[in-house]
Subunit: 151 residues, 2 copies
């Protein structure tokens, strides 16, 4: 176990992870009756928001549309970024902002327009971000609260 | 992308992942009012059930106790095992079956008895298990259904 990182270092590492090419994020969502769903999805980061693509009929899309929120985990499990996010919008590919779609295609390395007409983009805004590696980084793990960076 | 694995190979890979030393699992649970929680935890596998340890006051313990279920993801995200699990029991460390506790300590590489009196073991039984790497393994991803291995 290395020494704990400073808050500024953790924020820098979080932003690097969010901008990494071709990474996936674990997306947890819940139905109104309290059934948890979890699935890995490619992600993009526009500087403020996470962009995901999924089939409109997917459990994740249904849950996030109804609840307006989700919880994301970027791994590996001993170098994690945990994000509580709220839904900014669900847009179908035909009406997606070109910049958001281009950013997604470039970062995810995959174009949902080739996968059929049923895909949508989920635009998610983080309200809380935490990052830790091992037990000695549990203290100081909260880097964003109520949508505001603390560092 | 390699060729898709056979069902038998996937089952063998799943069991190897579940028995791996020192691995963590992503644990998604939900509150009764539909708020998803997600956290990485060390795991052990007793051949039939997943064993986790967590503080009794943890959101995961509260959610799983109330709902009786969770969804687990073993990574990395492009070589995943997804498990829907039901709660077999919550036991405090003092009354935990010695075999379960010893198996947990050995596999997780960590003894919750050193972390205070507030830890419990969550004993979770899989009802559905899926495993896939890339898009060409989505077909045939279900290896267990209703608690019964299909292969």
């Amino acid at each position: 176990m290395g020494p704990p990182r400073s808050p500024a270092q953790r924020k820098q590492d979080v932003l690097a992870k969010l901008a990494a090419q071709g990474d996936d994020v674990w997306v947890a969502s819940a139905s109104a009756d309290g059934q948890a769903h979890l699935v890995p999805l490619s992600l993009a980061w526009d500087g403020d928001r996470v962009v995901l693509a999924a089939e409109e009929a997917a459990v994740t899309v249904r849950n996030v549309r109804a609840s307006g929120r989700a919880r994301l985990g970027l791994g590996p499990t001993r170098d994690v970024v945990m994000m509580d996010v709220v839904l900014d919008g669900v847009v179908d590919l035909a009406s997606a902002p070109p910049d958001a779609l281009r950013a997604y295609v470039e970062q995810a390395g995959w174009d949902p327009r080739g996968a059929g007409d049923d895909y949508v983009l989920l635009i998610l805004r983080p309200t809380r971000i935490q990052a830790w590696r091992e037990a000695n980084e549990i203290a100081g793990r909260t880097l964003m609260r109520d949508g505001t960076w603390l560092v």
